[in-house]
């Protein structure tokens, strides 16, 4: 995948030192089908966390 989805980042600026999401990653973030899967996954994760936290 090329870098067409990444806006210009000023070299040596603080922003230059981190990872930048590209097209595929950004697409998945709002892709409804994939997000339904993630919705289920997040709920499972949170349920496990709640169960672990109650004493």
């Amino acid at each position: 995948m090329g870098s067409k989805h990444v806006n210009h980042i000023e070299p040596y600026s603080p922003q230059f030192g981190t990872m930048i999401p590209m097209g595929g990653q950004k697409f998945l973030r709002t892709c409804v089908l994939w997000q339904i899967v993630r919705f289920i996954a997040i709920n499972i994760r949170m349920t496990i966390l709640i169960l672990k936290s109650h004493h």
Partner: protein
């Protein structure tokens, strides 16, 4: 018949009072003393602050809920605690001052057998010159800490959007208004929601957006940072947060103690000791938090506030307040039962308890100014503390136990944080984070201090759906609607 008095009807106090009422039966009394007439789901204030929700959607009146539940509700603020009673009466009591219109200013003594302090934070705007006076927000900046503040912030944002539509560039400054703030998460959510709103309004290219924070790195969150299990790496929250800011084209200023706010400008001291300025057209700066200023008096009327409270006004509980230097801090320093060590019938939950120390590494500028985040106590742990203490107190009131039977230590519980990055059924996103445990435990989890199987983070639409659903679920629960006891904290 024994009486439980809960001071504070916010997230932790409401949880404590409603669970205690539910389990105590009619043999005992539950009284809530709180100055607010309405309950506020504070996390959704962020959306009110960008015009995505109305104030009415995030608040509801407390009186009918408490009436239905059989809770004696006093719309009043607690002023002082008298844990030994007075010379001619042994029974401990608190003094309260009514805030409702009918009785405003009237005071009363209210006896208790058990007392839970859930008074949350004092929004200490007055700590930074120009940010406000005492607990009142000043005129130069906005806030999202209360629903009213958020409504005002939304109006100001709307005015900026109008200016941008008319071709006037605007500078936005969002973050912390003092070197000793907590609640970076709220500032984080607000800046992303502003960016999202400006995008939707078609004026993003007319805005310069800057985050200013007392964190020494983005993603410290007052928790010493977090390592998430992500893509085969234990990825630092620094990378996660920086990536989000970089992607949205926002700048950041780190390690900043804002020491003056004027019209359109803040002055701040950095961790390297330099003084600098930042101009703005719109600024939302979180104030530092302190205890609400309750006093305590002994039997003979002498002031014993420092027996019950730490100097920052938060109440002492079963924490290790003598942990010493950062290198010696342990997860076990954090309180478990939240019981006051001197008066065993007094407890503190949520933001009201005094933490043993901060979580992030203490830092100061060469001038000696402390600049570090103070410990967050977010909604989930606050409510869990409220419930655990309620269960302990119920057992003690029913004579089943003489010591607390339940614990809620931040070093033994996790937190689920869903930080909104923009609202919209199909365009919204949020960061869903789970952190376990909240306090790093390097003995149990060498390496990152947390269980990587329980510490995760991801950004997406699904997390926004979760956040939106939680808004309705928690308001449902707080209104004590059918099945409320089954909804976890």
């Amino acid at each position: 018949m024994a009486r439980l008095v809960v001071m504070g009807g916010g997230v932790s106090g409401h949880t404590a009072a409603t669970f205690a009422r539910d389990m105590l039966g009619s043999d005992h009394e539950v009284v809530v003393v709180t100055p607010n007439s309405q309950w506020n789901w504070i996390p959704s204030n962020i959306w009110v602050g960008v015009g995505g929700m109305t104030k009415e959607e995030v608040v509801f009146p407390l009186a009918p809920v408490y009436e239905k539940a059989g809770i004696d509700y006093r719309q009043a603020k607690a002023v002082s605690i008298h844990p030994e009673g007075k010379e001619d009466a042994e029974t401990p009591y608190i003094t309260i001052e009514y805030t409702d219109e009918a009785k405003s200013g009237e005071t009363e003594e209210l006896t208790y057998d058990y007392l839970i302090n859930a008074t949350g934070p004092k929004l200490n705007f007055g700590a930074t010159p120009g940010l406000g006076e005492g607990t009142n927000l000043g005129e130069h900046t906005v806030s999202v800490c209360t629903a009213d503040h958020a409504e005002h912030a939304s109006d100001e944002l709307e005015a900026c959007i109008e200016k941008m539509k008319n071709g006037e560039r605007q500078a936005f400054l969002i973050g912390t208004g003092h070197g000793m703030c907590t609640c970076q998460g709220a500032a984080f959510e607000y800046i992303f929601n502003i960016e999202h709103t400006l995008n939707e309004a078609g004026v993003r290219d007319m805005a310069d957006i800057t985050f200013i924070t007392n964190e020494s790195f983005l993603g410290d969150f007052g928790m010493g940072g977090i390592h998430f299990k992500m893509g085969g790496y234990a990825t630092s929250s620094k990378v996660f947060a920086e990536s989000l800011y970089a992607e949205r084209g926002m700048d950041w200023i780190l390690g900043a103690h804002v020491n003056k706010v004027e019209a359109g400008k803040v002055t701040y001291e950095s961790l390297d000791g330099e003084m600098d300025e930042q101009e703005f057209d719109f600024a939302m700066l979180i104030p530092p938090f302190a205890g609400v200023g309750l006093k305590a008096f002994s039997k003979d009327g002498s002031d014993m506030t420092d027996t019950l409270f730490a100097p920052n006004g938060f109440m002492k509980v079963d924490a290790n307040y003598n942990a010493g230097a950062y290198e010696n801090w342990k997860a076990s320093d954090w309180p478990r039962t939240l019981q006051n060590p001197t008066y065993k019938n007094v407890f503190a939950v949520g933001i009201a308890f005094a933490p043993p120390h901060i979580i992030s590494k203490p830092m100061s500028s060469p001038n000696g100014t402390p600049i570090n985040p103070t410990p967050p106590r977010t909604g989930m742990p606050s409510a869990m503390m409220g419930k655990a203490v309620a269960l302990s107190v119920v057992d003690m009131m029913k004579g089943k136990a003489t010591e607390p039977t339940h614990t809620a230590s931040m070093s033994e519980m996790g937190a689920a944080c869903v930080a909104s990055a923009g609202k919209g059924l199909f365009t919204g996103t949020a960061a869903a984070m789970t952190v376990y445990p909240i306090i790093q435990d390097f003995e149990k989890y060498p390496g990152t201090g947390r269980d990587l199987n329980g510490t995760t983070g991801e950004l997406g639409l699904a997390a926004h759906w979760v956040k939106h659903i939680l808004h309705h679920v928690f308001i449902w629960k707080a209104k004590l609607k059918p099945g409320w006891t089954l909804i976890p904290e």
